[in-house]
């Protein structure tokens, strides 16, 4: 899933304070799971902004709503008429949602209320870990299913750097060294021979945008 965190409140306030009619617009999929931008979070953010507006004596009308997903146009359709009544949409969806709504909506600005951060897993409730960086050329079969691109601070491909420290990464004791994990995992799988092979420099061209994919539908293939 896509993981993000709400921006600092003051930054959000600065973005919206000169608008008159603002919709805080949530997305009930990934960002709801990470408690950053679902319908509930949109509602809370809207009420905090209302309080701030009252304190500052700013005449802003602030409402909130949410839809199931912000990454496919069809989900927007039922609410577009309503959304177009505002002069600013403050989206709590991920960056994909902000981009897509900006394209669809026309003249009304769409601002981000969250910082979209990574593709993550939820190993325990309330904890999110980056596990894949979408590099476009997966090598997990060579690394025991542990991604060195996303999980090693330097995206190294041939083993740990000199900063590896009792299983932690040099950048923080709270971050595990991906290459120690990879070593342990490959050892357990009896596949250390794989780690001993030199991985050549990566072709990063697959990881750089803008990337588009056009899937050929089944019917087209069979035509």
């Amino acid at each position: 899933m896509i993981v993000g965190e709400q921006k600092p409140f003051d930054e959000i306030w600065d973005m919206i304070k000169d608008y008159k009619k603002v919709l805080v617009f949530g997305c009930n999929t990934c960002v709801a799971i990470c408690h950053a931008g679902g319908g509930k979070e949109a509602e809370i953010l809207a009420s905090l902004l209302k309080m701030k507006a009252t304190q500052e004596g700013a005449a802003i009308e602030i409402s909130h709503s949410a839809i199931e997903r912000h990454c496919e146009p069809e989900f927007f359709q039922p609410s577009m008429e309503d959304v177009r009544k505002y002069d600013l949409v403050l989206s709590t969806a991920c960056g994909v949602g902000v981009n897509l709504l900006s394209e669809i909506i026309g003249e009304i600005p769409v601002f981000p209320a969250i910082n979209t951060e990574f593709f993550g897993a939820v190993p325990r409730a309330g904890e999110f870990e980056e596990h894949c960086a979408g590099c476009g050329n997966c090598i997990l079969h060579l690394t025991g299913g542990i991604c060195p691109i996303a999980r090693c601070s330097k995206s190294l491909l041939n083993g740990p750097c000199g900063g590896t420290n009792n299983g932690s990464c040099e950048i923080s004791p709270d971050i595990k060294c991906a290459w120690v994990q990879i070593y342990d995992r490959l050892k357990a799988l009896n596949r250390l021979d794989v780690m001993k092979q030199i991985n050549e420099a990566k072709d990063w061209s697959t990881s750089q945008g803008p990337r588009n994919i056009k899937v050929k539908l089944m019917e087209e293939n069979t035509k």
Binding site: S153, K154, S155, L156, L157, N158, G159, P160, C161, G162, G163, T164, N165, N166, G167, E170, I171, W179, V180, I182, Y183, L192, M195, K196, I198, N199, E200, A201, W204
Partner: protein
């Protein structure tokens, strides 16, 4: 004589370090070059060491060359992609730099520009392969160079890394990728280092033991706690403590000299790499006490 010739000749070599300054005032670095030349065999010129921005390693090497000290170009993969690295390697070659130390590089998190975007397009093992490719006349994409390089490539290893096994896998990959010599992270435990050397001797590479002078017992404790792969044994910490404040540095110099002497006399490794870290003026003294001058 080039570093390749010296180290391959079997002489016990001494390498040192020159840290380029942050700013254009080069008085101090020229003074350090003056102090070290004719004493150490070559000086590594650090590459934005600890991710702190300074004069580039390439320009630092040129200063060494102009002033009669043979340099080793340290190259990290943190700040340049494969195009930048290869361009600088070609540049280094025509400036007369003959030795390259291939490093991954400390994370920007350690330095003074923490907001920077790290590069790591390639890393140490791959950089070694790039250097060897260029020595054979080809760039990384297989294009033929108009004139090949002739570098002597080296790398680093941390013999006391915890855990050690993954580090050794990487060491062996560096050997396979063409590293001819290794400088180690600072070592203090001679018995453990001998074990490492027993292992490392299987490979056709030269190993230079890293030496960092202890300035105080506090510094030893600090490094044990905070520097990955450095382990100062308790007996050395006690020795530093017993020396008291006044004699601490003197004791630290003695310990360094004693280790160097032992490494040389017992032919444990092929040389030492003295990292002065601000004590460049003490390097000749350490060498004297170790019987090298």
């Amino acid at each position: 004589m080039s570093f390749r010739d010296i180290v391959e000749s079997g002489k016990f070599v001494v390498t040192g370090e020159i840290g380029p300054p942050k700013g254009t005032d080069i008085k101090e670095v020229l003074h350090h070059i003056e102090l070290l030349k004719g004493k150490i065999d070559v000086a590594n010129v650090t590459d934005n060491q600890a991710a702190v921005m300074r004069i580039s390693s390439l320009a630092g090497c040129q200063l060494c060359l102009q002033n009669g000290l043979e340099p080793v170009l340290q190259m990290t993969c943190r700040d340049r992609n494969r195009i930048g690295l290869q361009a600088d390697l070609l540049g280094a070659s025509v400036l007369g730099i003959k030795t390259v130390l291939c490093l991954t590089g400390d994370h920007v998190n350690a330095g003074d520009h923490k907001q920077a975007k790290s590069v790591y397009d390639v890393e140490s093992v791959q950089l070694l392969k790039i250097v060897n490719g260029m020595n054979n006349g080809f760039d990384m994409s297989g294009n033929e160079l108009q004139g090949a390089t002739d570098f002597y490539p080296g790398a680093v290893v941390t013999p006391e890394s915890v855990p050690l096994e993954p580090q050794l896998v990487k060491f062996e990959k560096k050997v396979e990728a063409g590293a001819k010599f290794f400088q180690t992270q600072a070592i203090y435990n001679m018995d453990k280092f001998k074990d490492f050397m027993k292992y490392a001797r299987q490979f056709p590479v030269k190993i230079l033991a890293g030496i960092v002078v202890l300035k105080s017992a506090g510094m030893a404790n600090f490094m044990n706690k905070n520097v990955p792969g450095i382990m100062v044994p308790q007996d050395l910490i006690d020795e530093m403590k017993a020396a008291g404040k006044e004699k601490a540095l003197d004791t630290g110099l003695n310990i360094a000299a004693r280790h160097i002497r032992q490494l040389k006399e017992e032919k444990i490794c092929d040389g030492v790499h003295i990292m002065a870290i601000g004590m460049e003026d003490k390097v000749p003294e350490i060498m004297e006490r170790a019987g090298l001058l």
